[in-house]
């Protein structure tokens, strides 16, 4: 298909060395890091040349192993070797219907579940951060210095809790997270953009632990996500589990220990992968009890035992199409993502549903990381002239508030384009009521009990009035990462009470700082030096952005204003050369304040440029 072309960069040499930007696919089973090198997106392998990093973290008493280094402990020490941590992100113990399938000692804490390990209690955020840190180090070694920014991908169907947890993990790993990007969108970006790619595409993403189906429209360099649907608890691992259950039945073995379970799950995965290219596969295993399993699984039988899993992907496909108001025939192509899409029964089901064979031109395991790298490259400012495209994404689940009777009032419907800000007015129901409890939920169901609770907070200081007289305006704002903040304000009397919350499962900045310090205390890295380096990178970024703005729109400023900004820049420059990171951070903040008014004028100019001076019809040629 013509879509599959990676755009070449501008021929003109860049005026400055390109910034170091990476895209990270933080997967359930494997993770990858990629970058754009000389205009070509490439996956960065480890020192042994392996592109994947198994998403495995082993906690020893005296240290941590990540990836291949943790593979052996998988069987020997399953309780302290964390796999599929992505399934735990932003989840409480009660959310995990399959908690018993994990061999860990879970600790049920409000918000997010924790795991008791040989090295102490760990949150899923900390475990993910270990994986991200390993990838960061791999990228820094390969690119020769500190990273300027990273884009981390998440399943499109991740809710706010899962997104917040992922972003926190990135920060904890010392990454400047430029954006959380939906995996299917990243895949579509990797497939490239040119005029021939105009049309509507579906991305079928069956990862290790999650399934996503997204409908994207490409037109004139704008990527629009029309709809997304999926299942956060369905993936390639479930196919392994079906094979595992089949092995237990066929081999007539009794209850198995955690380490034998791990062994058999690995055998199951091998069998599944074998069946992609073979009509049958032998399965041989000796358990710690001395029992043996010696069986042959045919491709036919595998299709039978996994048929319900394949069927489960059809529901979200229909739902996404319905939301986008499209029929399968209107889809121009289906992009396949995730190693699990290699299974012939998946290929067949997708081909039957859409009436055309799916696209497999790129490695389904790398495509997400490659797309994330392209987006990171653009966001960090390494934009080439002909890569001038824009991504307009949507939120996957409706956001709302609890109202009387435990019902959910939707404020932002699912598939709304982000960023989005929406407000709704509520009133008091008792005379003299001075406080109001606000409960923020996410989900499609009518009853609050069936939706996911994101946050609770109280708006206090409402002036005492008769019931129904106060007007409380609740505003939901979702940023380009799909992250929500909520504020509420009473507006009749001019008495303002406003509060902004971050949903409660997210980690407070102080927690992040503490965890960072703890992790640095254990590591050999020099924390102060690292913090200074980060502050210097940030300072350089802000100065470059400001100078660019001055060059483009300096005429918006009076001489005096310009001089003030110039002196703020000079201060930042001077301090960036020294080693006082606190003074440097203060100077950068001062520069931000000094440019506030300027930024506002620039934004207004930008908007009027887009709207005036031209016939509306001519915009169609943009």
């Amino acid at each position: 298909m013509a879509l599959l072309q990676i755009v070449e960069p501008d021929e003109a040499p860049a005026p400055r060395p390109p910034r170091r930007a990476v895209g990270i696919d933080l997967g359930t089973t494997n993770s990858l890091v990629a970058t754009v090198r000389n205009g070509i997106p490439v996956v960065l392998p480890d020192a042994q040349g392996r592109p994947l990093l198994p998403s495995l973290v082993h906690y020893r008493k005296d240290g941590v192993d990540v990836g291949y280094a943790a593979q052996e402990s998988l069987v020997v020490d399953p309780q302290n070797t964390i796999v599929s941590v992505k399934r735990l992100m932003g989840r409480g113990l009660a959310d995990l219907s399959d908690a018993r399938r994990f061999p860990y000692r879970f600790i049920d804490v409000p918000g997010m579940v924790q795991i008791e390990t040989g090295a102490g209690r760990r949150t899923p955020v900390e475990v993910s951060a270990e994986i991200l840190k390993t990838l960061r180090q791999r990228a820094e070694a390969s690119l020769g210095g500190a990273l300027d920014g990273a884009v981390i991908t998440v399943p499109a169907y991740f809710d706010d809790a899962q997104r917040q947890a992922t972003k926190d993990a990135g920060r904890l790993a010392g990454l400047n997270v430029l954006r959380l990007l939906n995996e299917p969108t990243a895949a579509a970006i990797a497939y490239g953009l040119d005029n021939a790619s105009e049309g509507t595409y579906a991305v079928y993403d069956l990862g290790g632990g999650t399934f996503d189906l997204s409908i994207l429209k490409l037109s004139r360099g704008v990527f629009e996500v029309l709809a997304t649907a999926g299942d956060t608890a369905l993936g390639g691992d479930d196919f392994d589990h079906r094979v595992y259950c089949w092995m237990l039945e066929t081999g007539r073995v009794g209850p198995v220990s955690p380490s034998d379970t791990r062994l058999l799950m690995l055998k199951a995965r091998d069998a599944k992968e074998n069946l992609t290219t073979h009509a049958s596969t032998p399965i041989l295993a000796t358990l710690s009890t001395g029992e043996t399993i010696d069986a042959t699984l045919s491709a036919e039988r595998f299709v039978e035992i996994s048929a319900t899993l394949v069927a489960k992907t059809l529901g979200p496909m229909r739902k996404a199409l319905r939301d986008a108001r499209l029929t399968p025939a209107e889809i121009k192509g289906v992009v396949m993502v995730g190693g699990a899409t290699r299974m012939p029964q998946i290929q067949k089901a997708v081909a039957e549903f859409f009436g055309a064979p799916p696209l497999n031109n790129l490695d389904p395991e790398q495509v997400v990381a490659l797309g994330a790298a392209i987006q990171a490259n653009v966001l960090v400012g390494n934009r080439a002239h002909d890569e001038d495209w824009l991504l307009l994404d949507v939120i996957p689940l409706s956001l709302g508030l609890e109202t009387m009777g435990g019902l959910c009032e939707k404020i932002v419907p699912r598939n709304a384009t982000i960023p989005v800000a929406r407000a709704q007015e509520f009133t008091t129901f008792k005379d003299g009521q001075t406080a109001m409890a606000i409960h923020v939920v996410q989900g499609e169901r009518e009853k609050v009990a069936d939706c996911r609770s994101l946050a609770r907070f109280e708006l206090r200081g409402i002036p005492p009035l008769v019931a129904g007289a106060a007007r409380i305006r609740v505003t939901f704002q979702v940023d380009a990462d799909g992250l929500l903040s909520v504020s509420a304000r009473e507006q009749t009397t001019g008495v303002e009470a406003a509060i902004t919350v971050k949903p409660s499962y997210g980690l407070a900045d102080a927690d992040i700082a503490r965890m960072l310090e703890e992790s640095h205390a254990h590591a050999a890295e020099d924390m102060a030096a690292r913090a200074l380096a980060e502050a210097q990178v940030e300072a350089e970024r802000v100065v470059a952005a400001t100078e660019g703005a001055l060059a483009a729109d300096g005429d918006l400023l009076a001489e005096r204003e310009r001089a003030a900004i110039g002196s703020a820049i000079a201060t930042v420059r001077r301090l960036a050369a020294g080693n006082d990171r606190h003074a440097l951070a203060a100077a950068v903040a001062a520069l931000n304040r000094a440019t506030e008014e300027f930024a506002e004028r620039r934004m207004n100019r930008s908007i009027s440029h887009a709207l005036t001076g031209r016939n509306v019809d001519s915009l169609a040629d943009d």
């Binding site: 920014g149 430029l178 940023d479 169609a620 943009d622």
Partner: protein, 157 residues
């Protein structure tokens, strides 16, 4: 104004104000981009939706369409909808997703017809009262379509 020109204007604006354009900029600019981009999205949503757009245009002429008392509908229309509601209830109790999908298709095509009529009333004929009547029917049908979608989703879950 056609949907194509609206789309083009929307994209041109987002190209300028979207937060991705300011990812490497300072904090202030990032915040402004977020706010501006959200406003553009809201404006686009209002203009793209034929009901909201018509409501807006009518309000410019002092007509508050779709208010609490603005509910009168022709008897014939109501009868059709009653029959459709019955079909919906039946299909739902029989968990017949194929029939529901057909009902949805049919309702959506009627909605498309009404939307075209609405544009004709407003843009070509300036027939404000007719537009107001069409709006009521549109609102009714939109609710029906949403209910069918919910029923479908309920079965597929």
């Amino acid at each position: 104004m056609t949907l194509d020109t609206l789309d083009a204007a929307y994209r041109a604006l987002q190209r300028r104000v979207h937060p991705d354009r300011y990812a490497a900029a300072g904090e202030t600019e990032r915040r402004l981009a977020l706010q501006s981009s959200a406003r553009v999205n809201e404006a686009y949503r209002a203009l793209k939706d034929p009901v909201k757009r018509a409501q807006h245009l009518l309000s410019l002429h002092g007509i508050e369409a779709l208010g609490e008392t603005d509910t009168a509908l022709p008897a014939e229309f109501l009868q059709d909808q009653l029959a459709r509601r019955e079909a919906l209830a039946e299909a739902q109790s029989e968990r017949d997703s194929r029939r529901l999908a057909a009902l949805l298709e049919e309702t959506r095509s009627e909605i498309a017809g009404l939307e075209a009529a609405l544009a004709e009333h407003l843009d070509a004929q300036h027939a404000l009262d007719a537009a107001r009547d069409t709006l009521r029917e549109l609102r009714f049908l939109t609710k029906v379509a949403a209910d069918i979608e919910t029923a479908l989703a309920g079965i597929e879950d």
